[in-house]
Amino acid sequence: MNEGGPRGKGRVVGLEGSHAVSEAVKMANTDVIAAYPITPQTHIVERLAEMVADGELDAEFICVESEHSAMSACIGASAAGARTFTCTSAQGLELMHEVLYVASGMRFPVVMVVMNRALSAPLSIWCDHSDAMAVRDVSWIQMFAENNQEAFDLTVCAFRIAENRNVLFPAMIHMDGFYLSHVIEDLVIPDEKEVRDFIPDYEYPFPLDPERPVSMGCFAPPYIYPEIKKAQEVAFERSKTEVKSVLHEFGEVFGRSYELIESYRMDDASIAMLMMGSISETAMLAVDELRDDGCDVGLLRIRLWRPFPFEELRDAVRDIDTLIVVDRCVSYGMGGPVCAEIKSALYDEPRRPKIVSFIAGIGGRDVTVDHFKQMFMQGIERAKSEKTKTDEFVMFGVRE
């Protein structure tokens, strides 16, 4: 989002992050909602159920007995040509896991909001990105929201992107559980009519129809499976262009535009910190304070996580010497998953920054402005030190 710019078209309201999503789903005129409640996603479903019951939203609300069934129901509805929505968190996302591949493999544009939460065990209802990282490879378009405004805007965009004929992939919006789901803040909600104009009616090219029977999700023997998967990868990669153009068009219509990689105070920065999700706004305050002290630091955030924006990332880090990556998840035996991807994306660059990895804020551990300043300082030292190994990562603030 353009910092300091106008807040865009619409009226200012106070909304909880969950309800901002429900509002977006309602304005998108969604046909079918199938979801199973799980903390911290529950309020989205509650509000949508209310909207359907009160007649505010003319949709089919399917009460399912599990997340596995929720996703299966969405796939069926999407195949019949319905605009579908679901949402979940953590264990719920894991329970859907096998069905996620079916949605993308069959090219159904289901939209899902994932209220990011840690995975058990030990049981934690609090925020981190281990649920998101477990579904990196499912061929869903995935974007991260940093605040409730973005949660609303990206949910609206997700329908438009997913249902585009050149895309036809499901889309996932990640937002931080509790830090956004249960937080009320001021945001701008556009006119419902304008949202509906922005998202044309969903028309699946080959909907289930008793008059014209088709088989979907057929058996694919070895002589055809790789070709199908190659086609899927090519189409998925290409959808990036569509993501970019929808985000920009959203900016033109509503006055708030988004980039695949977002930057904050990156002009003439030589040190950058990179992350995803809601902690980034707290990190901006650390950047401001360090800039006031004369440090040339900036901030990068990944908006589009899948398909990965390689080109945009390379452009964003071209002139910096040190890149500090803050992950909100552990890939056991490997380190920070985002950091690993950043390293691989930059491996072939002739000039690449020294990359330092931190893991912070897992299981809902609070990350403050001071913590970010400490990570900047420690990160700069580690980048300079000869002793720092390339596979080293630090779990910040952990008592040992």
């Binding site: 830090y179 937080v183 009320i184 707290t282 403050t368 402005v369």
Partner: protein
């Protein structure tokens, strides 16, 4: 009333100036599960947004248990959109919904030096061993009398407004109507009565705002 952090005592405090907050105001609400602290945080944030300010309410993230200490947070900023999302460690205002919590944890110690404590108690401000500016009101009695239950959040909304003026009674009233439906009018009466009965003791300010 807007633009001046008024108190029942001597009128002004340093935090509001010429219609602007000089800084973001951070409020911690300390209560027990079931007393409505999270709802109070939400009402204050909604009221501030209704007044055209930027605001954020945030529960302390945990499973709710009736009777257990619960923290909720509110931030209000007249000028800038609020970016910070970490928990409030050193609030400008501390609302204590249950007097028995004053001795639990270090919540009072973390109140900023020139901050304000708003406490539900039947004691007078000077009877509390708190070095800060203190406002007191017997919210439990008022809530029992008007609502018939010891849920003190809406009474404490009145006390907050009397002690700080961060949001107006009218905006709170508007948001209570939206939120509580037919229960609104009793809660509004509770808030107004608590506003009238809140006593404020103003501390000598040191001049600088303590960080």
């Amino acid at each position: 009333m807007r633009g001046v952090w008024c108190s029942a005592g001597n009128g002004k405090q340093v935090i509001f100036c010429d219609g602007d907050f000089l800084l973001m105001i951070e409020i911690c609400i300390y209560g027990r599960g079931g007393q409505g602290g999270v709802t109070l945080a939400e009402l204050v944030a909604h009221a501030a947004i209704y007044e055209g300010k930027h605001a954020q309410s945030m529960p302390s993230f945990g499973p709710e248990r009736r009777g257990a200490p619960v923290l909720a947070f509110v931030r209000v900023d007249e000028k800038d959109r609020i970016k910070i999302r970490s928990e409030i460690l050193e609030p400008d205002v501390l609302i204590v919904l249950d007097e028995s919590l004053l001795g639990v944890g270090d919540v009072v110690d973390r109140l900023k030096k020139d901050g304000t404590a708003v406490v539900n108690t039947n004691k007078k401000p000077e009877e509390l061993k708190i070095a800060h500016k203190v406002a007191t009101v017997d919210a439990t009695s008022i809530a029992r009398e008007i609502l018939g239950v010891p849920i003190t959040n809406t009474a404490m909304a009145g006390a907050l407004t009397k002690a700080t003026g961060i949001v107006s009674l009218n905006s709170l009233e508007e948001k209570m109507r939206e939120r509580f439906g037919k229960l609104a009018s009793k809660n509004i009466d509770t808030m107004r009565k608590a506003y009238d009965e809140t006593q404020v003791r103003v501390q000598q300010l040191s001049g600088e705002r303590g960080e």
